[in-house]
Structures are given as C-alpha cells and as structure tokens.
Symmetry: C5
Subunit: 357 residues, 5 copies
C-alpha cells in the first residue's frame, strides 16, 4: 500500500477533466443485471448505450463496470447515465477519499474496499451511483468483487429481489465494508505472532520491521476507512428520497460494522505502539543484564590482573632493598594470593549491597 | 481475551443469514419467569413455542436463553418472538459491538459483560429484547449470570415486582454493567503489585510482560465498553414508549456506572503507560550506575596494568644503555609505584570533578 | 489515594440496597443550623426526626451529617428527608463519581473534595441535597470541613444570611471546590523540587518514584474532578426552579474555579511527563559521557598493554634467530616505546576526528 | 519554512495601519482579465484606477496583483476597490492565518498555498476578494501561480466562461488547494527513502536530521492548512448571496480535497513519529548485539588473562616452598591450560543458559 | 513564570472578600482619559470619586488603575464604579483564569497579557470593565502597557475617536493579545537555536534544560491563553447590547489573532517534543558509534593480550617436557605471531559480516 495513492490532475486543470489512467489499453467489461421479484436477467454489454432501454423500466437495473476505460468511453458513459463531470473525474482519478455526493436525481458514493493482496492489506476504490431504479458500480481492480451478490440475486436468496434499488445499494455497501473483517483478522494474527516473538525474547530486526509495517498498514487503512464511516453516517442522515425508510435499519447495520472496523484499527494501532514499548523495555532489560555481567567480571578481574601484572615486573638491582623485595619474601606468594582473595570478597560484598547479584 | 473476537459471515452473505456457531451440538436451556406484583412463576421450557401463552398476558414475562442453538431452533425462536433477522444474526454472531436498535414494537440491545475467567478479564455478549410486557435475554456463556436477579424476583425484594418490563430490563443492564467493578478492582490490584515490584527495583522480564498484558486487557475492555456507554446514552435519549419516564432515573444511574467504569479504564491505561516510563527510566538509571562503576574501575586500572606490563617486558642487551635501564635503578620500583599512585589520584580527581563519585 | 476507591454492592443487588460501610460502629453526628436574616440557631441533634419541625418553616435549615451511620439510621434519615433510595445508596457507597440528579422536589449532588492527608493528596466524598428551604449535607470523613461557613453564618458576614437555600448550596460548593487550590499548590511545590533535582543532575531513584507518584495523584485527582466540573455545568444549565437566577453568577464563579483547577492538573501532568523526558535524555547524555571516557581510555591502553605483554613473553631458544630477537636489539626498548607513542598519537587523532575530544 | 512567519505591527498600532513590507522597492504588476461567455480581454495595468470602468460592467472582471506594493499604492488600491482597512492590513502583513471574512458587498479570503521551493515545502499567502461580478487576487511571491487558469479562460475550456464570478473564485481556490498534492507526494517520496534507509540499517546522523525536518515541515503545513479547511467549510455554510447554489457542489469538492490533504499530513506525521520509534528500537537492538559480543569476549578472556598474568609473576625464594611452587610442578603447565579450558567451557554454558549465544 | 500563580483566599471565605495583596504599601495611580471626536482630556486622579462627573457625560471615559491598592481604596473603587464584589475579588486576586462575565450594565473581562520579563516569557493580568460610555482597566504590573493607545487617542490617529466605548475596549484587547506575537517570536528564535545545536551534535546538558524550560513556558502560556480565546469567542457570541454590530468585525480580528497565537504555541510545543526525540535518537546513535569502536578494539586485543600473557608465564621444570615447550621451539615466536595475526583476520572478517566496519 503506497503512502500516496491519489491520482490528481496538475493544479489548475479544469474540474471534470478526464484523462485515462496511464497509457494502459482499455480493459472494460460492462455487466448488466436486471431484475424484479419475478424476473432476472444477466447480460454482458459491449457499449454503455445498450443499458438505456433497461434504465427506464420499472425493474431494478444494476450495471457494473469493471476495469480501465479510455477517455472516449468514459465520456460516453457519463452521457448515457447522466453523470456529473466531477463525479466522473473522481471515478477515473483513483485514490479518492470516500464520500457521498447528492446530485439532483442521483446519489454518488466513493468507497474504499480493503483487501489482502499478496499477503499485505491494500485498498481499492469502488464508486457507486444510486438512481430511482438503478445502481451503477465502478471498480477498476482485477477481480470483480460482486460475484456473491449476483449469485444471491439469481438464487432469490434473502429479501433482495423484493426490494428497491436502495436495498441493492445497501447490499453492495455491506459487501464492501465487510471485506474489512478478514483483513483485520489477518492483521490480528500477525500482531499476535509478533507479540509472541517479543515475549519469548526472540525479537529480531525483522520483528521490528514487521511491527513498523503493520503500523503503516493500519494508519493507511484508517485514513481510508475513517471518511468512509462518515460518508455512511451522512447517508443515514441525508433523508434523501432515493433511500427509503425501510432500508435505513440495514444501513445502520452497515454503519455499525464500519464503526466496529475502525475501533479494531484503533485498537491494533495502540497494541502495535505498545509492542514497541515492550520491545524497548525488554531490550533495555536485556542490555542491563548483559552489562551487569560484564561489569562484575571486569571489576573483579581487572584489579586482580593489575596485581598479577605488578609482580610480573622485572625490577632488579643487585643490592637495592627497594627492588621488589616482596618477590623474595618467604610468604610473598600466598600473601599476594590472600590480597587477591580479599579483593574478590570485597567486590562481591559491594555487588551484593548494590543488589546486583 | 482475543484481539479479534467477532464472528462474521463471508462478505456478500445475505443479511440475516444464520449459521450455528461451529459444529457444536445444541446446548440450549430456555428459562421462563412470569410475574405480577402478586404472582410469580418459574419454569424451564423445552421448546420456544411454549412461551407463547405467557407473552400475551398482562404479567411480565422474562425468557432467558442460555447456551448455543442450532440454526433450526434459532429460526424457530425468531418466528415465535417476532425478532428481526438482523437482530437474530447479531445474537448468533458473537463478538458484536454493543448497540441499541429500535424496531417497531421491540427494543433490541447488544451488551458486553466483563468477567474474570481463569484469572484474566474477558468479555461475554448478552443480547436483550424489550417488548411491551416481556424481556428476552440471550447469553451463550457457560454460567447463567442472572441468578441473583431471579432470586430478587422470587423474594419480592426491592420494587422490582411492582414495576413494568422496562424496570426488569434496567435490572439486567445494571447487573451486566456492574460486573465491570470487580473486574477493574482485580486489575487495580495487579497494577499495584506491578508498581510495587518496579519501585522496589525488582522488575523482571515477567513484570514487563504483565504490564503489556494489562495494557492489552484494558484496551480490549475499552473497545467493548465504550460503545456500550454510548448505547445506554442512546437508550436514555430515545424517548421510546417502551421505556417509561420513571425508569429513566434508574437508567441514568446505569449510564453513570458505565461512565465511571470507562474513566477507571482510562486511568489504569495511563497508569500502565506511566509504569513503562518508570521502568525505562529506572532501568536507565541502573545501567548508568553500573557503567559508572565499570568505567571507574577500568579507567583506573587499565593504565596501571599497562605500566606494570611495560616493566614486565624482557628487553635486555648486555651492553646497551637503552635496554630498560629503569629496571635496574636503585629506586626504580618505588618510583614506578609512585607513578601509579599519581595516576590513581589524578583519575579520582577527574571523577570528582565530573561528579561521578 | 487508592486506584480503586469505589464501594459497590455485588452485581445483581437491588438498587437502593443499603449496607453500612464495614462493621464499624455508628459514629454519626447531626448538626442543625437554622437561620433567617434576623435569627440564627445552631443545635446538635441526636435523632434525624428532630429536624422535622425546622424543615417546614420559612427559615433556611442546614442539616449536616458527619460520620458513618448504621443501616437503620440511614433508612430513618431517608424517610425523614424523603430521599430517593438511589441517592441514599450513593451516599453510603463512598467513592462515587461526582454528579447531579434532579428529583421531584430535590436536587442531589455528589461532590469530591480534594485534601492533603499525611502529606499526600486525597479525595473525600460530600453529598448534598437542596430542597425549597433546606440543605442537607453528608460527609463521612473525620473532620467537619464546614466550620468556616458556620462561622460566617453566625457572624452574618457577607450576604449569606439574606439569601435563599441555593446560596447556601453555592457556599458549600465553593468551599469544596476551592479545597483544590491548596492541594495543587502543594503539588506544584513538589514538582518544582523534583525539577530542581533533575536539572542539578541530582536525580536519584527516589526522584523517579516521586515523579511517578505525582503522576498517579494527578491522574486520580483528574478522574474525580473532571466529572465534578461537568456536574456543575449541568447545574448551571439545568434551569431547575430550586436555583434562582441571582445565584447563577455565583455558580458560574464555581464553575470557573473548577475549570481552573482542571487546567492546572492537566498542566502539571504534562510537566511531570516532560520531567521524565528530561530525566531520560539527561541520563542518556550522562551515559554517553561515561562511555566516551571509558572507550577512550580503553582503546588507547588496550593495544599498548598488548604490546607490553608481547614483549613480556618468555620465548627463548639458545640458537634460534627467531626467538624474539627484538628483545636483544640495542635500541629495542626505545623503539617499542616509540611504537607505543605512535599508537597513542594515532588514537588521539582518530578521536579528534570523531569529535569525541 | 520559518517557525515564525507572521508579519505584525508593534502591539498598540491602530488597526488597518499599512506599512510596506521592508524597504524593498515597489514591484507590483496589475493584471486584468475581463470576460463574458463571448468576449475575453486581457490587459496589464499601470495604476489601480484603470480597473474602475471594468468593475461596473456586467462582464466578470478578474484583477490579479502580483508582488510588493508601497504604502501609497496600497491605499490607492484600497480606495479603488472599496476594501476594508483590516483586510488591506492582512494582505500586506504576510503570514496571516487562512480565514474568510464577510464584508457588506464583498467576501474576503486569506489562503495559504503550499509549494516546493528549493526542494523543501513552503507556504505563500494568497488573498482574494469576491464581489458581485469581480474577483481581486493578491499574491506577493515571485511566480504568478495563476497562469493555467488564464489559459483556460482564453481557450474557453470547461464551463468557466459561462459562469459567474463565484465560479472563478472556486477555480482559484481549487488551484491553490490542489498545490498541496504535489507537495505531499514529494514528502511521501522522502519518507519512503528514509524508511528504506532505516530498514536497511543504513541510518546515519543525516537520516535523523531529515526525519526531524520532515516532521517540522508537516507541522508547519498543518498549522497553515488546518484553518484553511475551516475557512472553506465556513464559506460552504455561509449562505452568502455572492456564492450561488450551483457553485456549492464545486466548493464541496474543494473542501474534500482540503480534508484529504490534511488527512495525508496527519498520516505522514504519524509515519515520521513511527520512523523515530523504529530507529530507536533498531539502534537499541544493534547496541544490544554489540554489547553482547563485547561482553562474551571480555568475560571469557579477562579471567584467562588474569590466570596467565598470575603465573607470569616473578615470586622466587631459594628455599621457600610457598614461592609459586606450581611453576615447578611436572604437569603445571598442562594443568593450568586445563583450568583455562574449564573456565571457557563454564562461560559458554553460562551464556547458553542466558540465551546469549 | 511560576507553576502556581493564582492568589486565593482560604476555602470557605465569603465570596467578594477583599484582601490587599501582601503587606505592600499602596502604589496606585489612577489615570483618566475623557474624549469625544472633538475634545480630549487626560488627567491623573488622586481619589476614585473624582471620576464621577465624567462617567455621566456623553463623552467616552477611560479610567486606568495601575498598581496595588489597599482594601479601603478597593472598596471605594467598587462603590464608585458599581462593580460586582466577585469581579472586584477577581481583580485583586491576581492569577485568575481569563473570562468574561456579563453583569447588568457592565461587561467584565479578565485577560492575561504575555510579555518578556528578564528574557523569559511571563504573564500579567489585566481586568477590564465596559460600561455604556466608559471603560475601566486594572493592571498591577510595574509598567503601564497602554501608552501607545493613549498616544493614538491624543493624535486622533485611526478611527478611534469617532467610535464608542466598545471600540476602545477592542483597542485594549487588541493591544493585550498582540503582545503574544513578540513573545512567540522570541521563543521561536530560541527553538531554532536549540535545534541548530542539536543538529550540529553540540547538545550539552544545558541544551536539554533549555528545551525543558521552553516546554514549561509554552505549557504555561497555553494554560493562560486558551481560556482567553474562549472568552473572546463568548464575547463575539454574547449579543450584549454594550457591544455594537460594527465593532464585531474588529473583535473577530482579535479572535483570529488569539487563535493564531494558540496555534503557534501548539506548534512550538510539538517542535520541542520533536527536539527531545531528535536528541534521544542522536545520542543513541552516538552511543552506538562509541560502543562499536570500543567493542572492536577490545575484542581484537583482549584475545591477543591473553595469548601474550600466556607465554609470559614462568612455568619451568628442569626435565619436564610439559613445561611450556613452545617457548623453546625454534619457530615458537613467529608461530605465535602467526596465530595472533590469524585471530585479528578472523575478527575483522566477523565484524565485516556483522556490518560493523
């Protein structure tokens, strides 16, 4: 997940300007689902205008656009569905902040869907339009995330086929938000592994890097999911006629999940910070331990070595009584051994008193 | 207490889908209490439908479901009590965020009850429905926590038998929330023990692990109890006709306890963080102490040892006047001892000036 | 001051249950003051019911209950003054969170009064009831804190005798809140002493413990005084008919003092945290200093000592030209001294370049 | 970017006092653009009064003043455009806090435009007046930032020529705010470089300085852009008749970008703090590693060296049996070697048990 | 600047009690200014009652009281101007929290004026009363801060003489608040100096003390200026008839400056905290560097010294083949030199692999 993932035009570009993302060739698939409580129809379209007959009908129409589009196609899509240029720009410029915009006859939502890609959490943008009896969804990632929903529509499972377009919007929202749970479960497993390594004093450099990476991931998830919660809250309070009273209880459930995910993210962030604290204090503890042993060995033996060195000196003078007479005393050697033992005992008493042993 | 304790369906599952938690066999006991100010009846039921005759009466009916239920039973329960599918899903999927939902003729509450399990704090979910004259409670843990309440009902103690179903709800709430006090008292005792160990400079690696664990427990408690306080606040402000004016003063007391518990949690979290600070600075202090001793001993004796080593060299040349003539001076040895004492005095003066002694 | 100072009943106890605090014998003194702008009467009562004739009069009656009461006496008090069972329970269960409850004809306040006990800050609970023309105050500590107020009433000093019962309540509030100032002044003196010790590099282990203790005290003061400020704010906004317009300006002054005290607490908390930072960085600085000296001495003398040791070896072979011929060179010794001096010079240059000297 | 970049008059100066910034000579260029949906006119003016004929027309007039003005010119400008003295003072005293002021027939905005100057982020003040059919913009930097906008006006690209003056204001706002994206992209690149250096354990002193500098830059950006977001929010909610309903959706987009930029800044600040944590813990880890090696080598060899030194002593006495008899034992040398090997083995076992090897 | 600077009465003192600050003798100067747009009069008064004739006139009267007053004089002042006893108490008890109180015909403000005293920031209290056509100001410091304002009044500079008393109040407010800018500029200079010292690795113990002192000063400034901003905000929203519509735009400018100052304080606080982080990590870096050098030197030479010491031992036995036969080998010495070189090479390879060289 990149630190900076917003696509933006050079400042000063006219609002609503469209530029296809990079020089990538067009890879756009348009998938139409049209249903009433009785009928169900699914169809892959080749051009946006094929949708037009469906939009005017009483039935609920869900058009899903998957992949990258060229500027021409984009403008075409905008015209067909009557989309606001600013909304269209936001769809193209990936990395938008989640939000909800209320246009005259449409509700426009930008959402971010968390997912696990190659073992690390990532974010993908999903854009949704809700109209009187249609929903249009945009997703530029590789995999179409809405397969399970289409299956439910086909199978008539749950109440989805009896409901209006706003319920379909809720189902999409629910699916997008709930992707957060497996992502956070994955992160929680990683945190517990790292915590285990630290408590077993097995922390390596790589443990630290991983803690840093998790903090980074959580920070980026939070940046993307916080405004999403606010957007859903705005949706709940908007009293927009496109969202019916009966759907609100479901959207409140969405809001709840969104809030739950953010609370988990906050929790994990604090746990990651606490892991750093734990690491710092354990490593301090360990360093103290090591230094204590070194100091004890060194302070005991350095004076002893000095004494031994002292009597290893070769001062000699045939007649001088000052030329290391101790070396020639009868009890010189045991005396000096006694001095050394006395030094050791003194040191040990000192350490005991300092509470180091 | 796990980092991630929410049970969730794969994203895209229809809302209200029920799956029994794991392949565990059904272990559900249904306990009915029915009372007016005069009469009191207690009964263990075998099937949910046996409640039906009680629900319609004027008397207050409290049905408590304890344990795990299979999908079939769950759906049956939902039908009998007219529960909303989303609520039913939340009851089954343990690890929900506390909340309050207002349905047409019911009030639905998810609460988390703190408790001490095997010496460490944990959380269990309790779900409550309040209807016109009944309360339904769900709890999937091993022990039925509501025994004391049933006793009060039997004994007619307090005003509980004179009151409506909302007062029974308050009593349940009060019992659940107040479980927080013994849990926090337990934690406060642990913090004081750890504080004592640190102030006595007895901190071991295990002390650090325990501080980390307490931070983790407090974080998880906060995550679960914070939305609970908000839910009770929502209940206070909801002006739902199911909750009577006269019960509000009691619910405000509940809110107060909830707030008190959260303030204690916040307090303990800051104390735990302060303990880490205390540990880091004490251990720094100790390390400085150790290093100071090592440095003093080493800087005094290393030069001395060098001097001793110097005159332990075996340079000799029959005629050379340069072959360590000092060794053969008349006062060579006392001179060199004098040099050594001078070095020691110099070092001590240096340390004094550096304020190390 | 304890981490956990709330008295609570086992969860599930009926609300309003009274249990006398511990098995301590009853030590309750009831003190009645009754006054109008002209008359003043003070009386020690033996039983709560003796108050009854005073409550109905036009005069302002202030009943102060000091000490512990047995259950029987408590219930009696509750009946005499018509106190709500929940309020009565809060009075008995010390360690409540400050709050204000509005009952039908009474206003009930729980307050916490900071004080210095045995040199450390502590908290005591004071409970107050305000009625039409009476105030009832409860305090279970040893010393009656309201002596100065009674003196003012006797002496007719200030406007207190001309005012209603709400002004008496204000006077009590003011006295309780202002106890915070001497407590905080005491703490500020302690912080300045600790700051001085740290800046003079005189920090001992006990300095750290004291900083930790002050953080703990401030945290606990904040926990108790924060909700008190909110309670007074609620009182200001309550528009309760028992509190007259003219008293509001005085209560606003109370609120102001309360806010001032909390701001001081916050300030002192941050200063204490900054002291820890200061300690950590000074001790780091000191450790660096120590290590620098050790390293310089050691890195200079260790190679020298090796060289000296080298030529202290006893290799000898009658004919071998390889058996330490240097020892027998004419200029061997001055040469080796030269090598040693070269090593010292090299090291000093290295340290200079590293900016260590 | 300076810590303190506000220009201010000595306290007590009359509000609206004008002093030209420094003794710099006047370098002011006045650029006028006048357009309707059909006509377009661009003109460099020499004196402010030349604008007057344009202000009264139906066409939209945009006057841009670039550079420093002398006091006389400033007063002249104020008179010509009817600017409030306080606003005029704020234009001159660079380093103002972003804000919006509503005057009788004008809307006055102070904005801060982030930019990269000499490789580091900086801030420049832009001041805008919106009138019924004119916009006046002030910018004192070297480069006129509004070139792209003038081009769009010339080329009639987008809807800008069909709209009122408030849409022109939006275009200016949009350009100013969007300058934040390239600045933050630049910073994100720097953070990633630093992160890489730290994770590769290549952190040098300069890495730390750069992290500090980035924190400083982010702090200063936040200080300047936070009130800007609030100002735009105030503009959205002001219901000022100068801002038409149809422009609000565009201004909301501006607000969104502003919020996005602030969230990025917050994110980067936390990442920078996390980098410091990462550095501290890695460097702790590394220090531990180093000390462990030192301690092992030292604690193994120091006792050995002592033993060797011991038997390098020269005690000798012709007849004394105490004069280091070990030296003359038949197996003395191998025995002492054995003792040394035993010491080494003992140490290694000790280290293994301490988990150091 | 002291931690605790509030003067307070012993708790329980009657509200409005006046005690002159200390036993200092009275040093009060009363300065009257009376003006209309045409006339201007300035006069030093000896007694408060001399103001009375001016208060009733149409002209604007500004009375400034500078210095300490005795109780008698204070009461006199209170009577003359009709000041509320609580306000009078706040004027006397220096160290109040900034606030605004609305009395019947007066507006009472307590403000804190930052200033630099003896090179360090400090705070002085200014109290203001606004009446229909008069302003009374109190300041107990040594220097009268309002000289520049009186000069403007004399000189008729700006619009001040045309305006009402509320504009005079604004001018006083503006002067008091703007004193914050030079104070903060001074602090910013100090922070930049400290930052420079740290980045140049020149940090001494005194650098750390200064950072701590700046944090303390900023904390105390914030504590005093935060409620001041709130007070001005209250004034803006109060809709008090004493403050006219036309003055509000000026007061909003005051609020803006107040907010700007607080944002600068917050910024500087974070920069100071970041400096501590920078110091800690640099000093860690430096310590690591030092230890690395020590460890390399020590681990290379300690084994060598041991080997040298080994062959300095004096084992000898006339016939034993075990008595250090190496010493008498033909190639003994070059062999042992070879072993030493091998040890050095081994160590260097080890350090290379550990990435220490």
């Amino acid at each position: 997940m990149d630190y900076f993932n917003k696509t933006y035009h050079p400042p000063g570009t006219a609002p609503g300007t469209l530029t296809s993302s990079g020089d990538a060739e067009e890879k756009l698939s348009i998938h139409l689902v049209d249903y009433t409580s009785e009928a169900y129809q699914e169809k892959a379209l080749t051009a946006p205008d094929e949708c037009l007959p469906y939009l005017d009908r009483e039935s609920i129409t869900w058009i899903h656009l998957q992949g990258n589009a060229q500027v021409g196609t984009l403008k075409n899509i905008g015209n067909v569905f009557g989309l606001h240029p600013l909304a269209l720009e936001d769809i193209v410029n990936q990395g938008q902040r989640p939000k909800i915009d209320e246009f005259d006859e449409q509700l426009f939502l930008i959402l971010t869907m968390p997912l696990i890609r190659d073992g690390t959490p990532d974010i993908e943008q999903v854009s949704l339009f809700l109209g009187e009896n249609y929903v249009i969804s945009f997703h530029s990632g590789e995999h179409d995330p809405f397969g399970p929903l289409r299956l439910r529509l086909q199978k008539k499972s749950g109440r989805i086929r009896q409901q209006k377009a706003d319920y379909l919007l809720y189902c999409l929202l629910d699916l997008i938000i709930d992707q957060g749970f497996p992502v956070l479960e994955e992160i929680s497993v990683e945190i517990e592994t790292l915590e285990g390594e630290m408590l077993d004093l097995n922390a390596k450099q790589s443990t630290l890097s991983k803690v840093h990476e998790i903090r980074r991931e959580l920070l980026l998830l939070r940046r993307n999911l916080w405004p999403q919660r606010e957007a859903i809250n705005d949706l709940l309070r908007s009293e927009n006629p496109l969202v019916h009273e009966s759907t609100l209880i479901y959207l409140r459930d969405c809001y709840d999940h969104s809030a739950h995910i953010l609370e988990l993210i906050e929790n994990y962030r604090e746990m990651a910070a606490s892991l750093i604290d734990l690491y710092l204090s354990s490593s301090n503890h360990r360093l103290s331990e090591i230094m204590r042993v070194l100091t004890m060995i060194a302070t005991i033996f350095i004076p002893l070595t000095f004494v031994a060195g002292l009597y290893g000196m070769n001062f000699s003078h045939p007649n001088s009584p000052w030329a290391m007479p101790e070396l020639h005393w009868y009890y010189g050697y045991p005396l000096i051994l006694g001095v050394m033992i006395a030094i050791v005992i003194g040191m040990v008493i000192y350490f005991k008193r300092k509470n180091w042993i």
